[in-house]
């Protein structure tokens, strides 16, 4: 599979979006393979995907007014090792459902994430197709206008 083919698939995605609702998804993870594989399955499913490799890039995207239905957020990033980033994202974009991804979640961390409004905490490694299914399951606000 060539890089070109992958880029082509990305461009194809809006067409596939016909049957399932197209969501805007932000993937925040410093591991490029995780970003790539999640992006691939989400694009295949017809969603629009943005990527950030660290907390600062994610915050900057959200601050610039970029709106997302779902944020897939790695707990541990080069510039984040606690729940502050989740708190910031929830504040900047309260309408986005945040799914946290973690390689090692303590019960305290999971509880904290839930309290801050994370929709789900998913343990790494996960099945990427399961993750794609979880993304469409997230509850969305009744009116889309509120996010524009």
């Amino acid at each position: 599979m060539s890089v070109l083919a992958l880029i082509e698939r990305r461009e194809m995605s809006p067409q596939i979006a016909k049957k399932s609702p197209s969501l805007r998804v932000l993937i925040v993870d410093d591991e490029s393979l995780i970003r790539w594989s999640l992006a691939e399955v989400l694009l295949d499913a017809g969603h629009v995907v943005d990527e950030a490799a660290d907390g600062a890039s994610a915050v900057s995207l959200l601050s610039r007014g970029k709106s997302f239905d779902v944020v897939l957020l790695d707990y541990r990033l080069p510039d984040s090792n606690d729940l502050h980033l989740l708190e910031t994202i929830r504040r900047l974009s309260p309408w986005s459902a945040v799914i946290m991804m973690t390689a090692f979640g303590t019960p305290e961390m999971m509880d904290g994430a839930k309290k801050l409004g994370a929709y789900r905490v998913v343990a790494k490694p996960f099945d990427v197709h399961d993750m794609a299914r979880l993304v469409v399951e997230v509850p969305r606000p009744a009116s889309d206008i509120s996010r524009e």
């Binding site: 591991e31 399955v41 390689a103 343990a123 490694p125 996960f126």
Partner: protein
């Protein structure tokens, strides 16, 4: 009376008068006839006060009057020697006396009275009493000592073996007295001890006497245990003796081992947390990428199947990390009152769906009030025990799970009719990473133990030589 007779009587009287012992005479009725100066000092009565009165005056009130008995013997011509009794002085003081009483004869040989020599032995008796008390105190200290105390002679033969030593070694003192102390030592000291002793006696070069050190001791049952031994030397009636005091270090050594184990578990927990993150993150990356690539390969192609296999391997690897993490850093149990039978039934039902357990029949008996436990962790505990039983029986046989209350705790026993566990394996059952299975981490039972202990419970695995294994889990009841 001749002159010389008078002279002799005067000398005698002077001797009597100056004697340190009380000397007095009495007639056969016990009436005092003479009373010397020491008698005056000892009893407090002046001669003028007592002569003519009964000697019974000296018998303390409430004491049996032995005087009649003594006089009876005297009348029969008998002497009374060193008779020890108590007397009362004029001022009411009690004194201990030793009496020697002899008959007095008249010229015709008839007994007409008695002479008494009395010695005040109050001090002497008190000293003896003190000595006896002191000895009894020492004896009770030796007997009550928790430490073992052993006395040996210069040849190494045991002369004394206190109850503490009996407890430590499992020998009765009768079994060891007269035998060589080397019998209480494991090899090679057993064979070398005589040499140590003769070297010390010859050269005076002490390796342990007056120093004390940790040594290993040998029980009657052949097991060894750590003791701190201090040896003192003494000389009794010109003979050299050695006293060994043995302080049992088993508990301390066990505690140190336990602390070391706990410290290493903490380190392992920290390590496992790092590994978990550093391994699981790349696993997630590889797994995701392989899944995406696999989906794009022609379905049913060899390459697509390889991708599926790779994912299976990654999942195995992830399970290993999860198992390690569960053992090294078990979650704090979320304790709630639970019906243990419900948790068991759920676990059994889940296992019965597994083809590997198709030939295993599991029956559950008994019941107990709710336990205080974490359902998820209990499921892991029971799953491990049931899977172990099923594997021991090679997938075919009967497992009985019984629930009962014993001594304020809920006891769950998982018994199988498999081949049982050999003794050498049984000793290491709970050792992490010890396994007899071709494939297995050896973390199953050690994790079970940690989880049960996190519930303030305990686990024992019994396996009689006749086969079959019983795993017994005790869990605290919710109402206690």
């Amino acid at each position: 009376m001749s002159q010389s007779h008078d002279e002799a009587a005067r000398v005698l009287a002077a001797i009597v008068e100056s004697s340190d012992d009380a000397i007095f005479t009495k007639d056969l009725e016990g009436i005092v006839l003479t009373w010397n100066r020491s008698a005056e000092q000892m009893y407090g009565y002046a001669a003028a006060d007592i002569v003519g009165r009964s000697i019974g005056l000296l018998v303390p009130p409430g004491y049996p009057d032995e005087i009649n008995g003594i006089l009876k013997k005297i009348k029969g011509g008998e002497r009374v020697r060193h008779y020890e009794t108590a007397r009362q002085t004029k001022d009411g003081r009690l004194i201990d006396v030793s009496l020697s009483i002899s008959p007095i004869y008249d010229a015709s040989g008839a007994v007409i009275g008695a002479s008494t020599i009395a010695r005040d032995i109050t001090e002497k008796k008190r000293d003896i009493e003190r000595l006896r008390e002191g000895e009894a105190r020492l004896r009770s200290i030796v007997d009550a000592a928790v430490d073992g105390i052993i006395v040996i002679d210069a040849r190494g033969l045991i002369e004394a073996f206190n109850p503490g030593a009996e407890r430590l070694f499992g020998y009765g003192s009768a079994e060891v007295i007269g035998r060589n102390v080397a019998m209480l030592m494991p090899a090679p000291y057993q064979a070398e001890h005589d040499g140590y002793m003769s070297r010390y006696l010859k050269t005076g070069e002490a390796r342990i006497i007056g120093v004390g050190r940790e040594v290993s001791a040998l029980r009657k049952d052949g097991t060894t245990f750590p003791v701190h031994l201090s040896v003192g030397e003494m000389s009794l009636a010109g003979e050299r003796k050695f006293t060994g005091i043995l302080h049992d270090l088993s508990t301390r050594v066990q505690m140190e081992e336990k602390l070391r184990e706990q410290a290493s578990l903490v380190r392992l927990g920290e390590m496992a947390a790092v590994i978990a993150h550093e391994v699981k993150n790349p696993l997630a990356a590889v797994r995701g990428a392989i899944q995406v690539i696999g989906k794009r390969l022609p379905a049913g192609s060899r390459e697509a199947n390889v991708m599926t296999d790779i994912i299976a391997r990654i999942d195995t690897l992830n399970q290993l990390v999860k198992d390690l993490l569960l053992f090294a850093r078990p979650p704090k149990p979320n304790l709630v009152p639970l019906d243990v039978s419900t948790v068991l039934a759920g676990t059994i039902a889940l296992l019965s769906q597994d083809a590997a357990h198709a030939g295993v029949s599991v029956t559950m008996t008994g019941k107990a009030p709710p336990v205080l436990a974490d359902a998820e962790l209990l499921k892991i505990v029971f799953t491990n025990l049931l899977v172990n039983s099923a594997q021991a029986m090679k997938g075919h046989g009967d497992v009985v799970v019984s629930v009962a209350v014993d001594d304020g705790a809920c006891v769950v026993v998982v018994s199988d009719n498999g081949p049982g566990i050999p003794a050498d394996v049984r000793e290491r059952l709970f050792t992490p990473f010890f396994t007899t299975k071709a494939r297995g981490t050896g973390l199953g039972l050690s994790t079970v133990k940690r989880l049960v202990e996190a519930h303030q419970g305990s686990i024992q695995v019994e396996s009689p030589g006749t086969g079959g294994t019983r795993a017994r889990v005790r869990l605290p009841l919710a109402n206690l």
